[in-house]
Symmetry: C2
Subunit: 204 residues, 2 copies
Amino acid sequence: MASAASASEGKEPRTERGRKTLRAILDAAALEFGEKGFHEGSVSGITRRAGVALGSFYTYFDSKDAVFRALVRDMSAQVRDHVAPAIRAAPDGIAAERAGLERFIGFVRAHKEIYRIIDEAEFVDPESFHAHYATTAERIHARLRAAADRGEVRGDVGEAHAWAIMGMNVFLGLRFGVWEEDRLPEAIAGEIAEFLRHGLAPRG
Amino acid sequence: MASAASASEGKEPRTERGRKTLRAILDAAALEFGEKGFHEGSVSGITRRAGVALGSFYTYFDSKDAVFRALVRDMSAQVRDHVAPAIRAAPDGIAAERAGLERFIGFVRAHKEIYRIIDEAEFVDPESFHAHYATTAERIHARLRAAADRGEVRGDVGEAHAWAIMGMNVFLGLRFGVWEEDRLPEAIAGEIAEFLRHGLAPRG
């Protein structure tokens, strides 16, 4: 179940065709901002890439700022939706983190622009930047707590462990997803999962 | 032994007084860019904060771009120099990572602007951004390999572990250094060191 992409307030599309145009604009915005950055990127560059008229853009978004903010939330939701099914299907807490990391590196390879966009949000849209990492850490924390309740990881697993895992994933994605694809995502995820399994093992 | 701060090429200070002025300019640049970001920050804002004349600025730097590039390298060197003695004094590899993380969070609390500056380098000065993380990961990797040779951590410890540790440190610094100072750096470092000790323990 993919998250619905969101337009500026009061500009949500009401038809399937409208939703497709909105999706095309957001995908084009990811390429435009990913390649040129926020300051050099332009609304006309986005509409050209999307193959839509300038008027269509303003049907859904108020400004360049507005589409950037929508894009940050959209990429955050896309990566969450991409990893979620693999995490849910995993047999235990460590296997869930393993599956999540493997899927994440795969997503990054197909959407290398995600780093530039989320990172630039620190400057262009600090609220979305903060929300992206705060909610990601909360999700990991909740998964770890559930795994602790099932006795799969140590009982005192906490917020610092969740932030540590998020940080690992972000930098492993940067190194093995964006910078160089010299190793298989499953190999990286397997190595890190073993590290987590021992590092977070229940204490006797 | 602090790293010498560097001016634009051919503009290195030759006197102690010159080196002090250069240091004042770099410290002022950290505040100016940390607060306003690269685009909104200005050379006149830097000279005002440093209490030096505009001419002094151009004695050492060619441009706003040049001082930003020098600042990224300078912050990278400062953090390295700040953590290095504690790492060198540690009795083993895991204790070294623990000491490094504790000192890093402390450094971040005193220099919260480091995140904005290093992160903005991704857009303003990608080469320094790349160099900062590549060399940091290499240093961690070398420490882990040395610890493996001494039998303190598993023999197959590698680059992915080094990137994982760097990522943890960056995000723990963001959460517990920049965002909120609600826990002691030594408590975070102790918790993470235990995680590393078990996660990287030599396999029998």
